[in-house]
């Protein structure tokens, strides 16, 4: 007895629908990361383990940093991650510059500012001052030398350009694959079944960012797009079995496809779990995030393929037989 043998196999659709509700909820919780929103990410490799709480307190005492997060790195390497959206004064200055209120910068600069040039100059000077003071404090607290610092700074306007481009790339990608899938399968219902799975996977993976509190960044957009590839593999295979082959019953063919499909997803899940463990041990946050997003996406693919795509097409075939 398999999952498609029951008369009520269509009820399986409730599973993806439930997940969809959760996914839509968590997708509103996704926050853009430093590279898409602007901000600073500092990674410091220190000789010994760093007390993150103590460093955070020290930083809060000396600077006004917005959205400050401090995490210590241990295991393979030792050090600390420091992330913040910006220093309060610098953020306010930037806001004033963006809205053209150059004069209001004067109180920050200590002299009168009245042009964009003067404002930019004053701003970069203040930024440099802050950066030096920051590095000095952190290296005092952690004992790390200044060449062990990785500082990533992204201006908010640049981040917005990135975000817009990423969004455009994903939208165009989806429009193109919808056309292509329709070209391959011709029937609207079948094409929908295949395309929805890709959508579903990417959406669930995206919402997992909100669920896990991983920021949306350039390195987490990559796995979202990787999922399109993984998703269509199993869906096209399943659909091919159900639509273009005629042996045995559709249900039997679905089980045959499932055997292959589960092996396909299984290998990928295994590889990802290994990657996740290594990345967790070595504290390579980027790879860890990629692996996590992909894991969620692939679990979603199991649902999108075997509970949604399969059910929709079986239902479609059932109706065709009745006619």
């Amino acid at each position: 007895m398999g999952i498609y043998d029951s008369k009520h196999y269509k009820l399986l659709l409730l599973i993806p629908i439930t997940i969809l509700v959760f996914a839509l909820y968590f997708s509103t919780k996704v926050e853009p990361g430093i590279d898409l929103q602007g901000g600073t990410l500092v990674t410091v490799s220190a000789g010994s383990e760093v007390n993150a709480d103590q460093l955070k307190q020290e930083l809060e005492k000396n600077f006004e940093l917005e959205d400050l997060k401090v995490r210590s790195i241990s295991g393979g390497t030792t050090g600390v991650y420091i992330e913040f959206k910006g220093e309060k004064n610098l953020l306010e200055m930037q806001k004033l510059i963006n809205s053209g209120k150059y004069h209001e910068l004067s109180s920050y600069c200590g002299y009168d500012v009245n042009s964009k040039d003067a404002a930019d100059k004053c701003f970069s000077q203040k930024r440099e001052e802050f950066k030096n003071a920051f590095v000095k404090l952190v290296s005092r607290e952690t004992g790390a030398s200044s060449d062990a610092f990785s500082i990533q700074e992204v201006g908010p306007s640049l981040g917005k350009v990135f975000l817009d481009q990423a969004r455009n790339a994903i939208i165009i990608a989806f429009v193109l694959i919808i056309f292509l899938i329709f070209y391959y399968f011709r029937t609207p219902v079948v094409s929908f079944a295949v395309a929805q799975s890709a959508f579903f996977d990417v959406l669930v993976a995206y919402s997992s960012l909100g669920f896990l509190g991983i920021p949306l960044s350039l390195s987490t957009i990559a796995p979202l797009l990787m999922l399109i590839g993984y998703s269509v593999d199993t869906d096209i295979m399943l659909t091919d079995w159900l639509i273009s082959r005629k042996t045995k019953s559709p249900t039997d063919r679905a089980y045959k496809a499932m055997k292959t499909g589960l092996t396909m997803t299984g290998t990928t899940l295994t590889a990802l779990t290994v990657m996740l463990l290594v990345a967790y041990y070595a504290h390579i946050i980027t790879i860890m995030n990629i692996a996590l997003v992909l894991l969620f996406g692939l679990l979603a693919d199991l649902v999108g393929t075997w509970f949604t795509n399969a059910v929709i097409i079986l239902w479609h075939l059932e109706k065709k037989v009745k006619k």
Binding site: D147, F149, I151, G155, V161, A169, I177, S219, T263
Partner: protein, 516 residues
């Protein structure tokens, strides 16, 4: 023996040859280029400040920046446009001191001008070449406390004829060694500007040493008024910003010293001026830094007698050798590279420590190998046949090497996202091999679907082709839009999928037919 049969297969032979050709050889002879994520470095984002109603070619901006970085002595640089408003520069350097110098080089427009009697007689476009041969006068002379640096440059024949005419008969003391008439050289002179200073600063800088150095024993000096006039700018000395001053600066660029005038007065100036520059107090003369004056040279009687000048030079003075060297290099670089078509400002700077890079490569390799092994273990557990796991693992490794080889071949810089692309491609590759395996195995157990094995593999390939094209189509926008880091991801994924579809997949099918 199956093994020898496999190696006799034409497909296997061809793909082994290709494996060497596009995988192993490029990696051995050309080598991989690692991006900043792996080897550390600094990423500088420069925003281009567009003036209204002007258009420019971003590729010329890139050319100038590239030549400045090369002239500075940096080998490993990449300068790329990002849209029409940003340029992204990657350098391998992480030393904060060097990074600062580079920042100042990139943040300058570099517009060279020489003025005579308040008139521009020579610009950067007249420069033919910059001479860096010590035999021809280039270099630093002097001793501790008083260094002089000299950068001669060659100008075009048209320019030298033009200025010969300009200078003719202009020497008021033709019998002396040098004339009192002087040529003023600037890099990034504020054009059409009014300098507004209070009397105490004007008194302080009433006479400017011709060496432009305060510390030097002044041999000869120039009155402030003359200096500003000869620079083609206007000077207003006033302690308070009166209506008259406001009227005079209308629509012009105004330069004032920092901290002398009240907030109110500065606001008044700003509302009247087209642009207001507030210049901080400099180490040497304030006025020299306000004008961006580089050098003053006296005309010689020979020059004013009509002898064309072909190699003028810029000189400067500094108290210590290091500073002299730094200044000289800056001038050489700016003259050599020419000016940027727009003014620029630094938008962001990020440095990645090389300490992280090496760890990164080590762990990435480790994670990759473990992932391949775990896939092998999973496949063995699933099919209960070691012979299937082995070719799949071998194919994975071959694909990785071929993708990296192709990347080396086209000189693509590998970053984190590109590695993710390799993983993606190899991952879908495994999916496809399982598809082929299942199609071949199914023939054994399922009599109803007995077709020729070739037919089954064809079936598998039609699925593979459809899913591969779909994935490639999804990646193309990413590659075209050129989202900085994600471009590498798209490229390696597409390469990997193509290599898979055309090389490794058919070969795997040929092998698996022999094995089961």
């Amino acid at each position: 023996m199956t093994l020898s049969k496999i190696f006799k297969n034409r497909k296997v032979k061809i793909s082994l040859a290709l494996f060497l050709l596009i995988g192993v050889f490029p990696l051995m002879f050309k080598g991989l280029q690692f991006g900043m994520d792996f080897k550390g470095g600094t990423l500088i984002q420069v925003s281009l400040v567009k003036e209204e109603n002007t258009s420019f070619d971003i590729s010329s901006v890139i050319k100038v920046m590239q030549s400045r970085l090369n002239a500075y002595g940096l080998k490993d640089v990449s300068v790329k446009p990002y849209g029409n408003e940003y340029v992204i520069i990657e350098i391998a350097e992480t030393d904060p001191k060097v990074v600062n110098q580079i920042q100042s080089l990139l943040g300058q427009q570099g517009k060279f001008e020489a003025l005579f009697e308040g008139k521009v007689v020579l610009t950067g476009s007249d420069i033919q070449s910059v001479i860096t041969d010590p035999q021809q006068g280039y270099g630093i002379r002097g001793s501790q406390g008083n260094y002089e640096w000299i950068v001669p440059f060659r100008i075009t024949s048209q320019a030298s004829e033009r200025i010969a005419k300009e200078f003719e008969g202009k020497c008021s003391t033709p019998q002396a060694q040098t004339c009192p008439e002087k040529l003023y050289m600037f890099i990034d002179r504020p054009s059409n500007a009014v300098i507004v200073i209070p009397t105490n600063l004007a008194n302080e800088e009433a006479y400017i040493s011709e060496t432009l150095e305060k510390t030097q024993e002044a041999q000869s000096t120039i009155p402030l008024e003359e200096l500003v006039r000869e620079s083609g700018e206007e000077l207003i000395i006033t302690n308070s910003i009166t209506d008259e001053v406001i009227d005079k600066v209308k629509g012009k660029t105004v330069i004032i010293p920092e901290g002398y005038y009240s907030d109110n007065e500065v606001a008044l100036l700003n509302s009247s001026a087209s642009k207001l520059l507030v210049k901080a107090k400099a180490e040497d003369y304030w006025i020299v830094s306000a004008l961006n004056l580089e050098n003053i040279v006296h005309l010689t009687p020979g020059v004013t007698a009509g002898v064309p000048v072909t190699t003028p030079s810029i000189t400067g003075h500094a108290a210590d050798y290091e500073k002299a060297n730094e200044e000289m290099n800056r001038v050489v670089i700016l003259l050599k590279s020419g000016k940027l078509p727009v003014s620029v400002s630094i938008a962001s700077v990020s440095t990645i420590s090389p300490v992280f890079g090496t760890e990164f490569v080590r762990y990435s390799l480790f994670a990759g190998l473990l992932a391949v092994l775990s896939v092998g273990a999973f496949i063995t557990a699933r099919y209960r046949k070691l012979v299937i796991a082995f070719p799949i693992m071998a194919t994975m490794l071959m694909e990785v090497i071929m993708i990296l080889g192709m990347a080396a071949l086209i000189g693509w810089q590998l970053d984190l996202a590109a590695i993710a692309g390799v993983i993606a491609a190899v991952g879908t590759g495994v999916d496809h091999q399982i598809l082929i395996t299942d199609e071949v195995l199914r023939g054994e157990e399922d009599e109803e679907v007995q077709r020729s094995r070739l037919g089954k593999i064809k079936k598998a390939f039609s699925i593979i082709m459809r899913s591969a094209t779909t994935t490639i189509v999804a990646l193309i926008p990413l590659f075209m839009i050129g989202l900085g880091a994600l471009k590498g991801f798209a490229l390696t994924s597409i390469l990997g999928i193509l290599i898979g579809v055309f090389i490794t997949r058919p070969t795997y099918a040929a092998i698996i037919k022999e094995l089961v």
